[in-house]
Symmetry: C2
Subunit: 376 residues, 2 copies
């Protein structure tokens, strides 16, 4: 097996287009030179296109978690009350961050189940919260959380809405302004299909009135936002090849068009669910909240996780996601983000049909791939 | 001018070897897969070779400043007294970090001048310091600070010695164990010649007895060290292409041999100073502390910084460093790190001779390049 031959369908990182790989392959440049300053300025403007908002943006060299850290630790101090909604691993990450930096109250829901909006409203009514956090798209459970409704509650109760959009921005419908999102975070290796290692943030005017200017050093949000807006620069040395790759990924997004990309990803997500229905494999999260960028399924009882994914990889070069934490071994996940296309998806579904049959699960061969063809 | 044709002599980032660039050019891999875990484990072992110590190591996706942040904020709390020695921009960065996280006392020395060891000793004698910081090699002034002497003082007074080795580790003699260094930081784009975007740390047993386990989230030192030692992994998604590049750079270092690399860089540094002497251009820092990885020179009175560097770049494709802060326009800097070689250096010096002559500085043509030839 060669990496080049893989059908790479993780919930992130996702397939990297050769154009994006080639964009990294340039010799050293001085990151403070006028030429590279222009590149960073172009990335800033393309990020605004990606976030679909006039909000200021920031880009930081670090993983998505670095972005989440920036979103919490620059916005809330030890005394500030923050309400954390969790129903998966990444909602919990926000809660852990909030517990470290601020005064966190958690509302924990079962993984894969929608949060209880009435309960959230009544918690907010108790007053004096400064912020609320939500992971918009939970890759851990393949679920898209009701961000517009949370945004309405945030507005009604005048709290800052901090949203993890790492696997939604650029892949799902995201309306930061309409939804009253104050800080949104995305990661380079998800819906953009660039390599891992950069996070970007969109920051509302209201967030800027409320941030803490000197809460941290490397992950300082204000310094990143100000320097990018005023000087088309980053406060510290950026990861130059990753910026070059991300710029190419953003250009590819703009060529396709943000709405076209979102529509295409929606078709891929629907097709994936239709294929699973046709094969008799149950979708894990509440159906109406199933994500289009990551589909999570329960394993049929006879299928053993590691054996299944190992066979897929060894015999068919198909790379799928297992699960995290207590769901390990119980569910598997397919990512359909970025430049992932129907050719990838049908190869993936065909390989699942073959492998599950081999491992003793009875299914109708061609039923899953046929469902994909319907959407192609 | 094409980037490919540049003679790239900044004080960092430095020239990236094509082997290192090519190492990045691979499709997506699952960073938690057994295959990539093996790559990370190999990087861990190669980092120990680079740091020349059995200390535990950490690697983080972020710039050198992220590494400095980790070195300070995980080691010292608000009440802890830290003595910051500064005589350049990066010593000051340590002081800014310490002022944010801890109780900082600064001993500021003139940029380019050696710190006063007696004064440092008597400050430490006042007692109750938990740590002392030093930038080993100040790129801002082209100066190598007396780390062994500071290390002796740290040991005598039982304080933690935190050292910025960003432009020394892998390029200058660094003896972490002998010098009692508790935390040392390096950056990927300096002496290794990999792209920017990764920092690595070496952490002594004494540092591990004193760190604060939950001081921060993304930049958590304990999590990075433990996960790398125990699982050959990083706590959060790493910047995969940068790890691939850095592994290749580490392999190239091991092929050359650490001591051979240090000796070669020393010859390049000495040759650069000899060339400047021959051209009548004064070395900026105290001569006995002049660095071998970055040489800083005073501009002759007739030479104007921007015009000089612009002409060098436009006519000869030579990229040199200007200066930072109050030294801007007064000094220029040549980096001789990583895979930089005598062919690069002689092209650089020849271009300086030509450009300075053109801009009205009287020098003996061939005197600088001749001095280089003596060292080749």
């Amino acid at each position: 097996m060669d990496l080049e031959d893989n059908v790479f369908m993780l919930p992130g990182p996702v397939k990297i287009h050769p154009r994006i790989l080639r964009a990294m392959n340039v010799p050293s440049v001085a990151h403070r030179s006028p030429e590279f300053t222009e590149v960073i300025g172009e990335i800033r403007d393309l990020l605004k296109y990606l976030f679909d908002s006039d909000n200021d943006v920031a880009i930081v060299s670090g993983s998505g978690t670095a972005g989440l850290d920036m979103a919490i630790c620059n916005m809330f101090g030890k005394e500030d009350k923050v309400l954390n909604i969790t129903n998966g691993k990444f909602g919990e990450r926000f809660a852990e961050l909030s517990e470290m930096c601020s005064n966190s109250t958690r509302l924990d829901y079962e993984w894969g189940k929608a949060p209880d909006l009435d309960q959230i409203a009544s918690e907010l009514e108790k007053g004096d919260f400064k912020g609320i956090t939500l992971c918009h798209n939970e890759t851990s459970t393949g679920m898209t959380n009701p961000a517009p409704e949370i945004g309405n509650l945030a507005k009604k109760h005048d709290v800052l809405f901090i949203m993890d959009g790492i696997t939604s921005v650029g892949g799902l419908e995201v309306k930061l302004d309409e939804w009253n999102v104050d800080v949104a975070v995305m990661g380079s290796q998800k819906c953009l299909g660039a390599p891992a290692g950069l996070a970007a943030l969109s920051v509302s005017e209201r967030a800027k009135e409320n941030w803490i200017p000197d809460a941290c050093y490397y992950l300082n949000l204000k310094k990143h936002v100000d320097k990018l807006r005023e000087k088309s620069q980053t406060p510290y040395t950026p990861a130059v090849p990753l910026l070059q790759a991300t710029r190419e990924a953003l250009l590819m997004l703009r060529e396709e068009g943000l709405q076209n990309r979102i529509d295409r990803i929606a078709r891929l997500g629907k097709a994936t669910r239709a294929a699973m229905d046709a094969l008799g494999i149950a979708i894990f999260p509440e159906r109406e909240y199933a994500s289009n960028t990551v589909t999570a399924m329960n394993y049929p009882a006879v299928i053993e996780d590691l054996k299944f994914r190992d066979t897929l990889k060894r015999k068919h070069n198909v790379i799928l996601g297992g699960a995290q934490a207590h769901l390990k071994g119980k569910i598997f996940r397919i990512g359909t983000m970025g430049v992932c296309n129907f050719a990838d998806l049908i190869a993936c579904i065909g390989s699942i049909e073959s492998t599950m049959t081999e491992l003793g699960f009875e299914l109708q061969k061609g039923a899953g791939t046929g469902a994909i063809v319907d959407y192609m």
